[in-house]
Point group: C2
DNA sequence: CTGAAAGCGCTTACAG
DNA sequence: CTGAAAGCGCTTACAG
């Protein structure tokens, strides 16, 4: 069943004017006599006319759409950023569409092409593969890269201060009295991962503490295995810097099986600050990335770009914060 | 910085043929001499030409895009369905774009219009408000409605058997020896919620058990308050049918505070079967909705619709399953 | 097999 | 202020 929609010509006929006049009324792009405008408005209502955006953007080169490409639609952190992008976009009359690349370079390329082809006004992407360079280079749209090593052409990079995040978490665990904090080291192919590692290493060095870490993916599919390995390799661990908040669910499971109490035996600091962290039991102490700001800023950069405002700079490093909850215990003297 | 893209006319010029011929090569829509085809292919490569989908779909009326509109981008269950939609779509050369309506009717309407305007081939929606009727009626696209009471016009409704789900969960709790199973009753404005409630009520009646329930939202923002209220009103509760899996995180928190053990003191059955349930500690016994199938079927219905195949029927009720994990304990005699 | 032409549904110079 | 015309970048009858 296909409902045929009214077209601008139908409206024009009904109102007794030309399509051009109808267009001008809709867009407010030129003066139209009050009387004709009124007739047009009535005709629009009567016909239920909605301008065809395809035709419109074929001419206008802008569809007021921002594309957000993520490697996984199941990544809560990225979805929380998406929500912020969406809000900012909508406030400015833009729409956000989310595309799931499923960590598949072919899909990623396909969505970049689709967004280009549909005259989107920009792309926000957490690209995580290098093969993408060519697609991005061939894409004429403004591109904001999130959170990852930016390679090749882009309009701006928006990420949080991962070095500071790594430091902050480590320093806090030491302050809480941990002697053997172990880092679940994020993938080192990402600059974010390298920065966090660096932050951890530097703090260890400054405190004369031996750095301990195991490599961990962001994805929690392997979380159980990874958590188990951590405890096997470092049975004396008394503090853990989780690769991200989600991973802590697996950590809890393994710790409980081994009857290690949190925070009594082992303290934990997560990373990201997704809402889920507050729902866990015990509630998760974590590094808060400025999720809302990352999303809004990224959207804003693209919207400004449309108005030919180039961003102040190409790299935005947003500050992180420590959120203390229940998986850490501050030292007793801090009460004084 | 705007990169100007090659157009079909550039390719034609370079290959020494007409744009029509280039189009025919790209689309395989008519025979082209081998020699010219070869020249065209070379010219395409040389220019890096990508057909403008906007222009293309203005004529073709199909953009090979399926829109998936959800009330919240943070709903894991809906995102898992989205992943399945995406996979099915991609296999057939379609793309899925996810639109977040944020439970805002205006956004919902805006996205429906956008998808219509961009000649999407169909919409999959978990509409949850009644005001939407008009938008949907005015939308000429195939629409598949998920999981909710379908109102007005639509191509098909795909949902799982909520009545059976309600029954299954209740029966299992009784089988495990619960005397006072309490239902976190899902919002009754949804047919899915009403069906589950009915399933629960019927089983209670059949077993001569007093039905106990409190109203609960799907959203876990209010989870803590809701869980607390449940325990206050029914302190003797020994089994809980959670409104969904996510809500169980809040439940755990409250139960732990009150020193009630799971499953020793209180057993829990979740609802949905999201992956997160398996990461919880204890791992969650739950009703598995056929997430993968819901997504794939919905996508398939739309894709078939494009080829003018009307679906076999308008209502698909998919079967649910019980997944036993650690929040329930089967009766001892079941070993024999 | 192939090109010139018309058309998809809008928008905007161009004249008046 | 307003309409006829051209154009956005493709695709597909229509002739040949």
């Amino acid at each position: 069943m296909v409902i045929s929609l009214a077209q601008i010509s139908d409206v024009a006929k009904l109102a007794g004017v030309s399509p051009a006049t109808v267009s001008r009324v809709i867009n407010g792009s030129a003066k139209v006599s009050e009387e004709k405008a009124k007739r047009v408005l009535e005709a629009i209502k009567a016909t239920g006319f909605k301008p065809n955006e395809i035709a419109r953007s074929l001419y206008k080169k802008s569809s007021r759409i921002i594309g957000y490409i993520v490697p996984s639609i199941l990544n809560i952190f990225l979805n929380e950023i998406g929500r912020a992008i969406e809000e900012e976009a909508f406030q400015h009359g833009y729409k956000m569409i989310l595309c799931n690349s499923d960590e598949n370079p072919k899909k990623e390329a396909a969505y970049i092409q689709m967004l280009t082809a549909m005259n989107a006004d920009g792309i926000i992407i957490t690209a995580n593969n290098e093969n993408l360079d060519e697609e991005i280079r061939n894409c004429p749209l403004p591109i904001v890269v999130l959170d990852k090593e930016a390679s090749g052409r882009y309009t701006a990079v928006v990420q949080s201060d991962n070095y500071a995040g790594g430091r902050l978490a480590t320093e806090y665990l030491l302050k809480c009295g941990c002697k053997h904090p172990v880092l679940m080291r994020p993938p080192q192919k990402y600059s974010s991962g390298r920065q966090r590692f660096l932050g951890y290493m530097d703090v260890c060095k400054e405190h004369g503490i031996e750095p301990l870490f195991i490599d961990s993916p962001f994805n929690s599919n392997d979380g159980l295995r990874c958590s188990q390995e951590l405890l096997e390799r470092f049975p004396y661990v008394d503090g853990i810097l989780a690769v991200n908040d989600m991973m802590v669910l697996s950590l809890y499971k393994v710790l409980l099986m081994q009857r290690r109490r949190v925070p009594d035996d082992i303290m934990i600091v997560g990373y990201d600050g997704i809402e889920l962290g507050g729902l866990m039991t015990p509630e998760l102490t974590t590094i808060l990335q400025p999720i809302e700001e990352i999303g809004r800023l990224s959207a804003k950069i693209i919207i400004d770009q449309v108005a030919d405002k180039t961003p102040d700079r190409q790299e935005y490093i947003l500050p992180v914060k420590l959120k203390v909850r229940q998986t850490t215990r501050p030292p007793a003297e801090s009460n004084g």
